[in-house]
Symmetry: C2
Subunit: 379 residues, 2 copies
Amino acid sequence: MTTPPPAEVGAPLSDVDTPALIIDLDAFERNLARMAERAAAFPGLRVRPHAKTHKSPAIAHRQIAHGAVGLCCQKVGEAEVMVAGGIGDVLVTNQVVGDHKLARLAALARQARIGVCVDDPGNVDALSAAMVEVGAEIDVYVEIDVGQGRCGVAPGADTAALAARVADRDGLRFAGLQAYHGAAQHIRDHAERAAAIADAVEAVQASQRALAERGLETARVTGAGTGSWPIEAGSGVYDEIQPGSYIFMDVDYARVCDEQGAPLAESWEHSLFVHARVMSAGTPGRAVVDAGHKAAAVDSGFPAPFDLDGAEFVGASDEHGALAVPHNAGPAVGTLLRLVPGHCDPTVNLHDWYVGIRGGLPDGRVECLWPVAARGALR
Amino acid sequence: MTTPPPAEVGAPLSDVDTPALIIDLDAFERNLARMAERAAAFPGLRVRPHAKTHKSPAIAHRQIAHGAVGLCCQKVGEAEVMVAGGIGDVLVTNQVVGDHKLARLAALARQARIGVCVDDPGNVDALSAAMVEVGAEIDVYVEIDVGQGRCGVAPGADTAALAARVADRDGLRFAGLQAYHGAAQHIRDHAERAAAIADAVEAVQASQRALAERGLETARVTGAGTGSWPIEAGSGVYDEIQPGSYIFMDVDYARVCDEQGAPLAESWEHSLFVHARVMSAGTPGRAVVDAGHKAAAVDSGFPAPFDLDGAEFVGASDEHGALAVPHNAGPAVGTLLRLVPGHCDPTVNLHDWYVGIRGGLPDGRVECLWPVAARGALR
């Protein structure tokens, strides 16, 4: 049920059908290079970008070429697509629960270096049984709740107890700690964000002490995202970062500010857009585009017009986006424009194809069509 | 890039992998029968259900078998899937703008009875040219802005002028008026909703008078949805209704009240669910399920736990759903439960498969796997 691609390679952007997910390849490649350069300032820092953002082996391989040690995934189905696409090292930054999925995870662990997170003793045992069943081994990270209040065990003794259980089970390698603070990524103010991450660092250190008391070594501490990674990287306790959105940027992350108070949109360029078209413009002050919340996710707020001065996105229905536009200079029916997604990850998941544009917006041409290969891989 | 199905036919619901989109077939069929029965109370009323809700020819054919005259779609891509799936009469309840899409629409109009909406003179001319190019004819409805402030022309003279243009162009049949008030569907209070629809009825009547002055007949008035259709059906001016969500119900529509003040969840049963699993439960008062906003759309609010007493859905990230649960009776890791989608249409669009369950929840078995054939058909 994959939809036909919205364009042909070589076509001008103006000939790409709407709505379509487009990448400004020049901006995207600058983001890739900038992460490699910035991460290199932290000696020994491992970069393991998150594939839940892009769901694309084509993009994953470009991240590997820029020094990434492997990829993160959020679901076994995403990891299957990455491994089938030639990625040899994948960490599922999530708990995997249920016999069907554990069997699939074990099959993957025979084909590639695979990691997974745990926060429950019964799940550790089930994971071990699944690995033993097929003769596989897997890296296991104990997830700490570092302040988000979602998954994870309490830092300290509870973490060490679960790690000891992992170390004791066949088929499992205790690989370290997953210490990701998702909610902190989106805190706008740098000082507040740094305070949240400082708490996460303390949680990691308390857990490391508890591990040492049991004679266990913390092999690795992994976590961090686009919003906070320089803080974790500079903490001295994180070995590996898991940024996803830096390749694309989005409206929500663009509002987060760095240490100098500059929005992250100055660190990472907007490279991902929903290419849309005005489909109705009969009323002064209003224009309707053919991209609603089935084309641009609204969980973190509306998308924003990128190249239509004075326009504001004010409402989304399934297949309509309502723009407030200047009364005397509203766009005509048929006008093409680009929207910056409110949240890049779920927006990508609504599309089957990336249309890669070379030569900038709006005059570039289609250089590539990349499938969103793990779109819908939610199991 | 279609994902593998989450279950095998014949398996018990407990063996369906998570997250998965499931239909309680018994409840679904009762909704189908109830709409046929209720619509029959309005002599001559045509029911044209909206396929943007389900995106499935398998469901469309069941609606036809219950008396529907054809289907509505919101996008050409959806209409292509319906026509290829054997549906012979499809109305695209939307403007279709752009040469690629107009050519596809014209190709469809050679294969089936197709209708489309217009609100712009230039678009009327482009539509005519596309039809003439391939020797096709299409039903054209002038969309009136009946109060939503989205697409549509002003009622009255503007509507009649555009209708006259349609009637004058080759390849186009002026078929009537599209008068759908989307925003009114979700007004909770029946009297307020009825007032909004009364305004829509006046807009239609003003347009009919303007058409008559030009010697044009209003062939048909079409519109209405699950929230308001009995009001339009009883108005004497609407010939056709376009309900979508009645087959599934969702959290948002369940809050809308009917003329007796009863929530619509008493008229239409919840038949669509996201089957999910507790993946983390280490903290008293909290449980995390493996369905976030990539599995259950949050544009109209969170999904709701259907069969876990005292639980409330309080937060969604990409692949996690956070539940507040009773402190001393929280579910264990691995517990299966069902979520009622906040909004059925965009939730369906996140999934590749419907898993049809016969025998009720939670003890039924998989009777069928239906592809969400038009998932992602956003062009």
